[in-house]
């Protein structure tokens, strides 16, 4: 029997912070708001560290029951928490990166008039994310799942007076709902066939199912539906469209929610459900194909973006694709490994981008940056580490995890590997493109004019030339840079994989069939393509800066297609949004609402008035007519009495 760790405190602490800041923050000073937000979030991080410290003495999986929730017949779902190697990794990543981003936000959001609201939402997000990670059943996980969607909605639309932000948050929410629909149906199927949503019960029932076409069909359906949910939350094809728009939110939000933590919820959910996927090879193939396609597709869009945050957004989608590629190859631990390193370097990239934007007084267009290396040396240094990490240059974190994924994918099919390597090349290219455009060459922006020309509120001291961010923003950058630098070494000698093996099934470790030589060869290839991408970016965006325009002109239509993100948004607008709006306008509004619902109400009102106009005539005010009615009424009563009396005889 394990000692109680009071796991419930971990999600509840940020919730308390959110409540305090949300209800009292408006009247408190910025200093008080900061203290509350950081103390509660930091306490959750400290708890997570303490749990990690106690971890080796626990018998796993460690479960803690907090309270009844739903008990109907044999079905039950409780407020209970589940701790194993997988939740521990997620717990540390979420609280750790989350805490760093909280600190960073203090500097970034200091001048925003809704400072308290921002931290309240941020803490609320932490609460839901930790609920998602720690839940011991799918239903509680779904609460967290929906909750992070809500927090994401609130934070994308943080500057809700901006039209684009308001529509971006709606888009994110609606697209996520489509995914949630799949997730929900998967849950219904699980309840119908296993009568439970508890992880332990579901997984042991799945393991004990007899083999057969019917079992496989059921598990494939559940797996694919879960993947639909994951596609929404983790921005995979075809539901990735919300993530680039989500960049309308404040940059720390992009770092925390749309890069490091929330978007990885899908990967976590799929890994958590690995027992189901292990027995549904078709579903796994679907996951792998979606992941591979997304990785490649999003990376190509990233090439032509000029908004620094949009590049990072497409890069996030692409990296999430890698994680799903790993999951689809059955290498869940490689996916989680990449999830962790990605949280470090992508969080760092976004925070660095925030620092760059801050330095340029709110400018996000890379064409107006350049030469920032000398103005913001610390940001440059940390961003460089992150760029090397995501490009997969050894010995940075990204190299280890990406290589692990490619190696596992190669063992399943060389096609995944080939697309993965091509993606790695493109990734390296667009990241170094961003690096060169931002930090090298000459500064192309106008001298930063007086502040207040955008709603970012953080450029109050943005006069003159670009300037370095305050220490409160730089320290998280440095810590994340350190993690991006050394975070990959936990994967050395497959330590990480062996650590996760009890939670993710040991089956994958047995797949080491190809000789070591192949592994090193593949590793060499991926490093080579990364360097090639770097060289190409150097050539095009540093050495011969006239070339990109010429190439773009030469490619013509193809280039335009990429710049416009393959017109996917336009396609969705034409396919789904416009028919929906037209249908709503013409059928639902003008026909159903106006001609049926409104008409029913109006006509019944009119009818009542017409009937009462007639009935009103009885109330003539003429005494004798009243008397007549009384007499007639009495006559009817008497006639009735006589009639019943006759009948009784």
């Amino acid at each position: 029997m394990n000692p109680s760790l009071n796991l419930w405190l971990i999600p509840i602490l940020p919730l308390a912070g959110a409540a305090i800041n949300g209800f009292l923050g408006k009247r408190s000073s910025r200093r008080a708001v900061t203290t509350v937000a950081l103390v509660f979030c930091g306490a959750a991080f400290a708890m997570a560290l303490w749990v990690a410290y106690r971890f080796s003495s626990l018998s796993l999986p460690h479960q803690e029951y907090l309270a009844h929730w739903i008990r109907i017949g044999n079905f039950s779902a409780d407020f209970a928490f589940y701790l194993d190697q997988l939740s521990l990794v997620m717990l540390l990543v979420v609280t750790g990166v989350g805490f760093l981003i909280h600190i960073y936000s203090v500097g970034y959001m200091w001048d925003d008039p809704s400072y308290y609201r921002f931290f309240s939402y941020l803490n609320l997000f932490m609460f839901f994310m930790l609920t998602l990670v720690l839940a011991n059943n799918y239903l509680l996980m779904f609460i967290g799942w929906e909750g992070v969607g809500l927090a994401s909605y609130l934070l994308i639309g943080f500057w809700f007076t901006k039209d684009s932000a308001a529509s971006a948050c709606k888009k994110a929410f609606i697209v996520n709902r489509i995914g949630d629909f799949g997730f929900l149906i998967a849950l219904f199927l699980l309840i119908k066939h296993f009568g439970s949503l508890n992880f332990e019960q579901v997984f042991s029932s799945v393991e004990h199912l007899s083999a057969g076409a019917e079992t496989e069909a059921l598990l494939t359906a559940v797996g694919i539906l879960l993947m639909v949910g994951a596609c929404g939350k983790s921005a995979q094809i075809p539901l990735y469209v919300w993530l680039p728009d989500a960049m309308e939110g404040p940059t720390p939000v992009s770092a925390l929610i749309h890069a490091a933590t929330m978007v990885t919820a899908g990967v976590y959910m799929v890994s958590r459900s690995h027992v189901i996927f292990d027995r549904a090879p078709t579903a796994l193939t679907v996951v792998a194909i979606i992941g591979t396609l997304t990785a490649f597709f999003a990376a190509t869009i990233g090439i032509a973006q000029t908004d620094i945050k949009k590049v990072l957004a497409y890069s996030t989608i692409s990296q999430l694709g890698y994680m799903f590629m790993a999951c689809g190859a059955g290498a869940f631990s490689a996916g989680i490994f990449h999830l962790m390193t990605h949280a470090f370097f992508k969080g760092l990239l976004f925070l660095g981008a925030g620092s760059v934007i801050h330095a340029c007084g709110g400018e996000q267009d890379m064409r107006k940056m350049g030469g920032l290396r000398s103005y913001i040396p610390w940001t440059f240094l940390t961003m460089s580490i992150a760029t090397l990490a995501i490009a997969g240059i050894p010995p940075m974190a990204g190299f280890w995890s990406k290589d692990e994924i490619l190696w596992k994918a190669y063992q399943v099919s060389w096609v995944y590997w080939a697309v993965g390597v091509a993606t790695a090349f493109i990734t390296s290219f667009y990241m170094f493109r961003l690096w060169y455009m931002t930090f090298f060459g000459d500064y192309r922006g106008a001298q930063v004019e007086a502040h207040g020309h955008d709603s970012h509120g953080h450029d109050a001291h943005g006069h003159g030339e670009p300037h370095e961010s305050p220490m409160v923003m730089l320290v998280p950058l440095m810590i994340l840079a350190l993690l991006s630098l050394v975070g990959g070494f936990v994967g050395w000698g497959n330590h990480f994989e062996h650590f996760l093996a009890p939670a993710l099934g040991a089956g994958e470790a047995a797949a080491e069939t190809t000789s070591g030589v192949t592994e090193y060869l593949l590793m060499g290839v991926s490093v080579a393509v990364a360097l090639l991408g770097w060289w190409l970016a150097y050539l095009l965006y540093h050495k011969r800066q006239d070339l990109p325009q010429k190439i773009a002109d030469a490619l013509g239509g193809l280039y335009q297609t990429v710049v416009h993100k393959y017109y996917i948004d336009e396609l969705y607008a034409a396919l789904f949004v416009k028919p929906l709006i037209d249908g709503s306008t013409r059928i639902l509004w003008q026909d159903v609402d106006r001609k049926i619902i409104d008409a029913a109400v109006n006509d019944s009102g009119d009818g009542a008035r017409r009937v009462s106009d007639e009935a009103r005539q009885m109330e003539s005010g003429n005494i004798r007519s009243y008397a007549g009615w009384i007499a007639a009424g009495s006559a009817v009563v008497i006639a009735f009495m006589i009639w019943t009396w006759m009948g009784a005889r």
Partner: protein, 100 residues
């Protein structure tokens, strides 16, 4: 001994005359008298039944009705006088201020 049915027929006739007068006549005084006629028609049936069943309750009821009728006459006549003073008419068809 006059049979009970004679009294009842007379009583019904008196009541019907009252109802008819009430409905047909326009003069308030006449209507008022019609009401008295109906009351007395009912009184007649009460005493007839009291005599027939050898029970006093019917006669007691008649006293009550007569008291109420007297009270009603006092109030009713007062109202009629008040109405006449304001409206200068005893025609009920013209006393229709309650209409709408």
């Amino acid at each position: 001994m006059v049979p009970l049915s004679y009294y009842l027929v007379l009583s019904g006739f008196l009541f019907a005359c009252g109802v008819a007068g009430f409905l047909i006549k326009r003069n308030v005084i006449t209507i008022f008298m019609s009401i008295e006629l109906m009351l007395n028609g009912v009184n007649l049936s009460f005493v007839a039944f009291a005599a027939h069943w050898q029970a006093l309750a019917g006669q007691v009821f008649v006293f009550f009705v007569m008291v109420v009728a007297a009270a009603e006459a006092a109030v009713g006549l007062a109202i009629i006088i008040a109405v006449y003073r304001t409206r200068e008419t005893l025609n009920v068809d013209q006393v229709n201020l309650l209409k709408l």
